[in-house]
């Protein structure tokens, strides 16, 4: 058999199965999905692995219709939807008259994909849009299903907290599912003490700000996809003497980023300003280690040195890679425009001049900076002011439409529906109260040796993570007033455990909380939660789940109206 892949899926699938495994299951050939006739292959079965998207259905239709009917043996078609079967897509195929060509139509339901030791993602990029623009709660249903599976594996989670409408929905579905499967009472000792469900729209602010951790910046600038990042190759050219730079690589350099790499695990969550010193320290240690060889005198010493070589080589190449990446990032973070942009962001987040038209944003529009950058800033201002004054909002709208085209009125409308860009209706700005109560802005931030989560945005403490932190200690009762200002209900549910499974906590043992971000989470928020996990007297460790890893750009993009490409 042969598999035809929706290219997008190869990333996530690469995380859960190696190709050797597929080979083991008699997969002979693999193709990427593209229009036209399918390449010849001497196989009986052709299986399409696709996301349920209409544009992909069109390609499949094309593939199937162009298949040579006269060939023998005839090839059979199957379709496997990932992560879920879609009747909408089947309806579409039916209208194209090809539905009957598929012998099997199945789903491979992939709810939560492990991304790292403490991170699970559903990789559903449109989850936020579906929930908040289209009121389509399918992704929530799958989140609940994923959580049921997780509980089947790691035990019933005794406490569920949540904030937001979607969180409430997911909790309701979990309770319902539990009731409907009476046998679901399992006998596994619970690993998680608490589940915290958080709606993204409870904290619209955080993803809009530029992330300032090492990993966050890599994502902001180059985009991390399924733990891989593609980087410009110039800085990775091998610097060997005599080669004189004649063979500069032109393909982007692809690197995998996760905590399995010792060095990356150490620096990924640091503020970028603290990364340089770590790298130079490491460089000294490694070169010292290589120097050791001069001191190795006896055979035993030499042998020991040699045995360490592979480890040292790996450490050296890891260091070289990250030094190059840090250089690339530094070029950008030291640019004037990055600085100006950050200054404006920080002004908004600390509550300065959020109620009038901002000069820098106007300048950026005049210079036709990328539209997404403009939208991020304008939305940030709107969120930090509980909505913009009608006059200010109208001004921005007009400038954007005149400069980028009137059709963007559709995108602006979407942003308004999602609550990201709106007129101030209540006439009251709640943000200062929220900021002060939750201590979202810290003036004395320590980037090198942080003592508070605000280091991830060099001053701004992500609201979502603050909520998690306050829940653990001293509890949400202390911030009732602020919780009421944030959208959606907050709630607590308890799931009964059989007596034998109730945890008797040892003194000093950490609690484990699973935080599920419905609608996406940023790398900086992950960093902040990991920071809390590592705090000595924190008392809580966090495991994170989400519908999708996002940053401001990918997030805004998911809300933009898909516009036809320009006609030239």
């Amino acid at each position: 058999q042969a598999i035809v892949w929706d290219e997008y899926l190869t990333g996530p699938f690469g995380l859960i199965a190696q190709y050797s495994l597929l080979k083991e299951h008699e997969v002979e050939k693999m193709f990427t999905l593209k229009p036209g006739r399918l390449p010849p292959a001497d196989v009986k079965n052709i299986i399409f692995f696709v996301r349920p998207k209409l544009e992909l259905m069109d390609i499949i239709t094309d593939n199937v219709l162009r298949e040579d009917r006269g060939r023998s043996p005839q090839r059979d078609f199957h379709i496997l939807f990932v992560p879920r079967r879609s009747l909408l897509c089947e309806q579409w195929l039916k209208e194209q008259g090809v539905l009957g060509s598929f012998i099997h139509r199945e789903q491979y339901s992939l709810d939560l994909i492990p991304f790292d030791g403490d991170l699970l993602s559903m990789e559903s990029e449109s989850a936020f849009k579906e929930c908040y623009l289209e009121s389509d709660q399918t992704s929530l249903y799958h989140a609940a299903k994923g959580l049921m599976t997780l509980q089947a594996l790691y035990g019933t989670i005794p406490q569920i907290f949540g904030k937001g409408d979607c969180a409430r929905h997911v909790a309701n579905m979990m309770i319902r599912m539990k009731r409907e499967f009476p046998g679901s009472q399992n006998s596994i000792f619970p690993v998680f003490d608490t589940l915290l469900l958080l709606d993204r729209n409870v904290d619209l602010l955080t993803p809009l700000a530029t992330q300032l951790t090492y990993e966050g910046l890599i994502d902001e600038i180059y985009g991390i996809q399924n733990t891989y990042v593609k980087l410009p190759p110039e800085k990775f050219a091998p610097k060997k003497q005599g080669e004189g730079g004649k063979d500069l690589p032109t393909e982007p350099k692809k690197l995998q980023l996760n905590s399995a790499e010792e060095l990356y695990a150490e620096i990924r969550d640091k503020n970028f300003n603290a990364v340089g010193s770590v790298l130079s320290k490491k460089a000294k240690i490694i070169s010292a280690a290589f120097e050791e060889r001069h001191h190795a005198k006896t055979v035993g010493e030499i042998k020991q040195f040699v045995s360490q070589l592979p480890h040292m080589q790996a450490a050296r190449s890891s260091l070289a890679n990250h030094t190059s990446i840090a250089e690339l990032i530094k070029d950008i973070t030291t640019s004037e425009d990055f600085f100006d942009n950050l200054t404006v962001e920080q002004e908004f987040m600390s509550g300065v001049d959020t109620d009038k038209v901002n000069n820098y944003i106007e300048d950026c529009i005049a210079q036709k900076h990328p539209l997404i950058k403009i939208l991020r800033l304008v939305c940030l201002q709107s969120v930090c002011n509980s909505g913009l004054k009608q006059k200010v909002l109208d001004h921005y709208k007009r400038e954007i439409l005149q400069t980028y085209g009137y059709e963007h009125i559709l995108t602006l409308n979407n942003l308004e529906k999602a609550g990201l860009l709106k007129p101030q209706t209540s006439g009251r700005n709640n943000y200062p109260t929220i900021r002060k109560t939750l201590r979202l802005w810290m003036d004395d931030v320590n980037e090198q040796n942080p003592n508070d989560i605000s280091y991830v945005y060099s001053g701004y403490a992500p609201l979502s993570v603050r909520l998690a932190q306050l829940l653990a200690r001293p509890g949400w009762r202390s911030i009732e007033e602020v919780l009421k200002m944030l959208p959606g209900p907050h709630f607590e549910e308890r799931q009964q455990l059989p007596t034998g499974l109730q945890k008797k906590r040892q003194h000093g043992e950490n609690r484990v909380t699973l935080v599920f971000f419905l609608g996406g989470v940023t790398y900086a928020e992950l960093a902040a939660l990991r920071f809390l996990s590592q705090m000595e007297d924190g008392g809580t460790e966090y495991v994170i789940a989400t519908t999708k890893l996002i940053n401001g750009t990918t997030w805004i993009k998911s809300l933009m109206e898909k516009l036809e490409p320009a006609p030239f």
Partner: protein, 484 residues
């Protein structure tokens, strides 16, 4: 591991299948064999009918797929490979060997025990078909599940079966009452796929008025239908529905969105004209009106200019051929175009910049910025000068830049303006530090010297001597100032 990874890349990116190598062959092979054995034994238990699809559904890794991947991830690490000889049964000991775990409760360490058959069975018990599908789609397939059309499922059961991906016949639900119960069950299940399926059924079997009426009180289902109609491009049905619901602004936007699908400009213009009367919000109405007017202008300008360009009479078009048509460009781009090709035209002409400025109420700042950029690109320094000159009522002229002179300098500099032109505007930058900065950067010596003179800063002025050419007029100037 790098060798394996490189091979893998090839595999994903080329369709050619390659022989692959294992760095630690025994290890992985034995694991694969073992997992296969496990699977085979599982298959015996459930007595599955072994069709083609089953073989590819990755049943080979029902138990270990997730920990497998973490192991794979871990194997890329710098730690020794010795840690990996643990079998899947032992779970994640290899991962535990990793340095610096962010949390002692890493997920992989939690995967322990899951690989044992017993716990796996309890999982399947716990969640029945739905949950198991994640890991072993073939595990639970009682034959009865294939008998879809024979039994008399209740609405609730029907919905639940559909949630598991089974296709059920809905035709049995004949009465309106039955259909609505079915819909409510689907909505309660929150699975959009099922809700959509039921809606497709209702849409086919109910009269529009009845469907609309019932959906009005079922907001969730309503949203799903709207989404479905939008995706399927059933524009007319959608508009009928929105009109019925009196969601006028949505009707308007939804209709307006359609213009994106119209390629022919004339047709697009006609369509936009029709959009003007739609019930948008007051603010949006004026934008839509502007959109229409703009396209109308662009069509006129385009026809004219294409003719001009083809005729080859106009020197401007010969010297600077157009890179693209102006059709469907944003307003500001159009203004730039008109400042570039039609700057001197009288206000009565559609293509003249002043006409555009008036028609679309373009703010002064935006206008000056755009005109400046266009004229500077043509190196028409006289126009630049005129653009920034204002006359007051006494007839005095004065230089004024609504965007600030530092921006003027930036734009001119980007267009390689000569120093004589540049320095005239650098001189006008109000902030002294900015002025000095710009002047030094762009070598406007006169401005630097005069500024230091006004600041009475002898030290800086003396220091600046080395920046100017020996024996030049500038050096002379510095000397004369210093000696005074």
């Amino acid at each position: 591991m790098s060798r394996v990874r490189a091979d893998e890349e090839e595999y994903w990116h080329s369709s050619k299948f390659r022989a692959f190598t294992f760095d630690d062959e025994d290890d992985e092979l034995s694991q694969l064999k073992e997992s296969k054995r496990t699977v085979n034994s599982l298959r015996d238990i459930v007595d599955d009918d072994d069709d083609d699809l089953e073989r590819v559904s990755w049943s080979g890794e029902p138990v270990g797929s997730i920990s497998w991947s973490i192991k794979e991830t871990a194997s890329g690490s710098t730690t020794s490979l010795d840690g990996r000889d643990s079998s899947l049964q032992k779970g994640s000991s290899s991962y535990a060997a990793l340095p610096k775990q962010p949390s002692s409760y890493s997920l992989s360490s939690l995967f322990k025990g899951r690989n044992k058959l017993s716990s796996f069975q309890s999982l399947s018990d716990a969640l029945t078909d739905t949950g198991v599908k994640n890991y072993a789609p073939e595990l639970r397939r009682p034959k009865a599940e294939y008998k879809d059309y024979s039994s008399d499922w209740s609405p609730k059961d029907t919905v639940r079966r559909m949630q598991r991906g089974k296709v059920c016949s809905l035709e049995r639900f004949r009465s309106l009452q039955d259909k609505l119960v079915l819909l409510d069950e689907a909505v309660a299940g929150h699975d959009g796929n099922v809700i959509t399926a039921v809606l497709i059924f209702l849409k086919r079997t109910l009269r529009r008025e009845i469907l609309f009426r019932e959906l009005e009180v079922r907001q969730v289902a309503l949203c799903h239908l709207i989404h479905f109609l939008r995706e399927m491009g059933e524009q007319k049905f959608l508009l009928d529905l929105l009109r019925f619901l009196d969601r006028t602004e949505e009707v308007a936007l939804s209709q307006y969105r359609e213009h994106l699908n119209i390629q022919d400009v004339e047709k697009r213009r006609e369509f936009l004209k029709g959009c003007i009367g739609l019930p948008f919000s007051a603010e949006d109405t004026s934008h839509i009106q502007d959109h229409y007017t703009l396209l109308e202008r662009q069509i006129i300008i385009e026809a004219n200019d294409r003719h001009l360009e083809m005729a080859g009479q106009s020197e401007l078009f010969r010297k600077y051929p157009r890179k693209a048509s102006i059709l469907n460009m944003p307003l500001v781009t159009t203004l730039f175009y008109s400042c570039f090709y039609h700057y001197t035209e009288a206000e009565g002409m559609f293509s003249s910049p002043t006409n555009l400025k008036k028609t679309f109420k373009i703010p002064d700042k935006q206008y000056v910025l755009t005109a400046l950029a266009a004229r500077a690109k043509l190196r028409a320094w006289g126009d630049v000068d005129a653009l920034l000159t204002t006359k007051n009522w006494l007839g005095y002229t004065k230089k004024k830049a609504p965007i600030g002179f530092h921006r003027v300098v930036e734009i001119l500099q980007r267009n390689n303006a000569p120093v004589q032109v540049l320095q005239e505007y650098v001189r006008l930058v109000e902030d002294v530090d900015t002025r000095l900065n710009l002047a030094t950067k762009y070598k406007c010596h006169d401005v630097v010297i005069e500024t230091y003179r006004d600041l009475k800063d002898r030290i800086q002025l003396t220091a600046y001597k080395c920046k100017v050419e020996r024996g030049s007029a500038e050096e002379e100037k510095i000397h004369s100032i210093l000696s005074n």
